[in-house]
C-alpha cells in the first residue's frame, strides 16, 4: 500500500509491510540536506573566529609580500596565499570539526534519524567549499586593493576553480587523517604538524632554500601541485604541459586520500 504525501517536505514513499498500522513517509533528501546545511552554516558562523584565523595568514602574506611583486609576479603571491589558505581549511578547520563532532557523538545522533550518511558529510563539505570560495575571493580583493594585482576575468574564474580542485586535496587528506586517527587531540596535533610541514618545506623548498632535492620533491607534493595549478590558472598564458601534469597529480592525490579517508572513517569513537 503506497503511503500518502502529507507535506511538501515529504515526498518519498514506501510500500508498507503487511499488517503495518500506518505507512510511513520519508522527508525528501533535499529537505534533509537543506536542514543539515543550514545548521552547519550556522555552526561555521558561530565559529567565525577560527574562520578568520584561517584567512588571516594568507591575507598577511598578500600584504607583506607586496615588495616582491616585481620580482616574482602577482600570480606567484596570490597562488602561495591561496594554497596556504586551502591547507588551513582542509587540515585545520575541516579535520578538527569532524574529529570533535565524532567525539561528541553528534554524527551518531544524526545517523539514527532518516538522514542518508552522504547528506551528513556532503553538507560539511559544502560548507568547506563555501569557505574556499570566500577565502579565495578575499585574497583576490586584498591583492587588488593593497598590491594592485589585476588578473584577467579568465584568471579570476580559473583561479577560483583550481582553488576548489586544490582544496579537495586537503579536504581529502584531512578526511584520511580523521579516518586513521580517532582521538581529537591527536588529530589536532597531526593536522597542525602536516600543515606546518607543508608551509615550511613547501615555501622555503620552492624558493630553493632547502636544496634541489627538496625543491623537486615539493614540486610534486600536494603543496607544490596545488600551488602550480592555482598559479597556472591565475595567468592562463603560463599554463603548460607541466601544469597539466600537476593537475593530474592533484586529482590523483584527491582520489587516493578520499579513498583512504572513506575506507578508514568511523562515525563513532566507540566503534
Amino acid at each position: 500500500m503506497p503511503s500518502t504525501i502529507s507535506s511538501p517536505a515529504l515526498t518519498a514513499t514506501a510500500t508498507a509491510p503487511a499488517l503495518l498500522p500506518a505507512p510511513r513517509t520519508l522527508p525528501s533528501t533535499a529537505a534533509v540536506f537543506s536542514a543539515l546545511l543550514r545548521a552547519d552554516l550556522t555552526t561555521q558562523w558561530r565559529n567565525r573566529r577560527a574562520s578568520i584565523m584561517v584567512v588571516l595568514l594568507p591575507v598577511v602574506i598578500v600584504i607583506s609580500w607586496k615588495a616582491l611583486i616585481d620580482k616574482v609576479g602577482g600570480a606567484f603571491i596570490l597562488s602561495n596565499a591561496i594554497t596556504l589558505g586551502l591547507n588551513a581549511i582542509g587540515l585545520m578547520g575541516y579535520t578538527n570539526s569532524i574529529a570533535r563532532d565524532r567525539e561528541k557523538e553528534i554524527f551518531q545522533r544524526l545517523r539514527v534519524a532518516p538522514a542518508p550518511n552522504w547528506t551528513i558529510m556532503g553538507s560539511r563539505l559544502t560548507v568547506q567549499l563555501i569557505m574556499i570560495t570566500l577565502m579565495t575571493a578575499i585574497i583576490f580583493i586584498v591583492g587588488y586593493q593593497y598590491d594592485h594585482i589585476v588578473l584577467s576575468f579568465t584568471g579570476y574564474i580559473g583561479g577560483l576553480l583550481m582553488a576548489i580542485v586544490g582544496g579537495a586535496v586537503y579536504l581529502a587528506l584531512g578526511q584520511a587523517i580523521v579516518g586513521r586517527i580517532i582521538n581529537p587531540e591527536t588529530v589536532n596535533a597531526t593536522s597542525r604538524l602536516i600543515y606546518i610541514a607543508f608551509i615550511m618545506i613547501g615555501m622555503f623548498g620552492e624558493l630553493g632554500m632547502l636544496g634541489d632535492f627538496v625543491d623537486h620533491a615539493v614540486k610534486y607534493s600536494p603543496y607544490g601541485t596545488v600551488k602550480s595549478i592555482v598559479s597556472g590558472a591565475l595567468t592562463p598564458a603560463t599554463w603548460t604541459a607541466e601544469t597539466s601534469l600537476a593537475l593530474a597529480i592533484t586529482l590523483g592525490y584527491t582520489a587516493l586520500f578520499a579513498f583512504l579517508g572513506i575506507r578508514w572513517f568511523k562515525w563513532s569513537t566507540r566503534s
Partner: protein, 260 residues
C-alpha cells in the same frame, strides 16, 4: 490478525553480535508493543547498548533481524529510522546551535513542518521557553535531557529508544522525566529504555528483560520477575532488608561481582 494497536513496534529475532571473537549478544529475541515501556537491564558489558545500537541501525548484527514498526532496519533503514525516536547516552547536539535551531534542524530532517506557534508550544511544554536563544552547550544537564527527549519524539515516532536517560539527573529532574516517559506511553508510543536503576525500572517499566553475558535470562513484568524468583537462594542471599526487591532479584540472577 494483528490490529494496529497490538502490532509490535519493535521485533528483535535471533540477534547475535560479535566484536571480533567476542560474542557480545547471543540469540536475543523480544518484542515491544505500542503503549508499552520495556526496560532492558543488565550489568556493564551485558549487551544492552549493543542490542540498542543494533535496533538503531548503528551496528550491523552478525545474525538476526530487527523490525521497527514492521520495517527491517537492515533492508529499509531510512523508513525504520523515520518510525524511531532515539535518546542517546551522550548529549549529542552541536553546542554552537541554539535550542530553537536544534529543534528546527531535527524537524527538518524528520520532515516535520513547524510554524512559530508550534515551536513556542514545544518550548513551553518542556519549560524552556525563556531559553530558546540559548546555545545547547549552555543548558544544564536536566534541560539538555528534556531537549533530547523532545527531539526524540518530534516526529511522533512509534518507537522511542532511550539509553540510560536519567543518568546524572537530580531526583526532581528524574521524576519529571519519568512522568514524560509515562505520558509518551499513554499516547501510544512503544518505549525501550536501558537503565542501571532498579528503582527506575520498577517505577516506570511495564515489562523488563534482564540481560547478562549477551543473553536474556528473564523477561516479564517487574512484579512477576520478583514473584517468580523470590524463593531462589541466591536472591534471598542478595536481599538486604528482608523484603525482596527487583535489585535483589537482579543481583541474584546476574551475580554480585562487579563488572568492568
Amino acid at each position: 490478525m494483528n490490529t494496529s494497536h497490538d502490532y509490535p513496534v519493535l521485533q528483535v529475532e535471533g540477534l547475535n553480535i560479535y566484536y571480533g571473537n567476542f560474542h557480545a549478544v547471543r540469540n536475543v529475541s523480544f518484542e515491544v508493543r505500542p503503549g508499552e515501556i520495556f526496560g532492558l537491564l543488565g550489568p556493564n558489558g551485558a549487551g544492552k547498548t549493543s542490542t540498542l545500537s543494533a535496533a538503531e541501525g548503528l551496528l550491523k548484527p552478525s545474525a538476526g533481524t530487527i523490525r521497527v514498526a514492521g520495517y527491517d532496519i537492515a533492508k529499509q533503514p531510512l523508513y525504520a529510522r523515520a518510525c524511531l525516536g532515539v535518546q542517546l547516552q551522550a548529549t549529542s547536539f552541536q553546542p554552537e546551535l541554539t535550542l530553537t535551531e536544534i529543534i528546527q534542524l531535527y524537524a527538518g530532517i524528520y520532515g516535520v513542518t513547524l510554524v512559530q506557534n508550534e515551536l513556542e508550544a514545544i518550548l513551553r511544554d518542556i519549560k524552556l521557553q525563556d531559553h530558546a536563544g540559548k546555545r545547547f552547550g549552555q543548558l544544564s544537564g536536566g534541560q539538555q535531557q528534556r531537549v533530547s527527549l523532545v527531539i526524540a519524539t518530534i516526529h511522533d515516532p512509534k518507537l522511542v529508544l532511550m539509553d540510560e536517560p536519567t543518568t546524572g539527573l537530580d531526583p526532581q529532574s528524574r521524576r519529571q522525566l519519568w512522568e514524560r516517559i509515562e505520558a509518551m506511553r499513554d499516547k501510544g508510543h512503544g518505549i525501550v529504555l536501558t537503565t542501571h536503576s532498579m528503582e527506575e525500572a520498577e517505577a516506570v517499566c511495564d515489562r523488563i528483560a534482564i540481560i547478562d553475558h549477551g543473553q536474556i535470562i528473564t523477561i516479564d513484568s517487574p512484579q512477576a520477575i520478583i514473584d517468580n524468583n523470590r524463593d531462589r537462594p541466591e536472591v534471598i542471599r542478595a536481599s538486604r532488608k528482608g523484603k525482596i526487591t527487583l535489585e535483589d532479584v537482579f543481583i541474584g540472577l546476574t551475580g554480585a561481582e562487579v563488572r568492568a
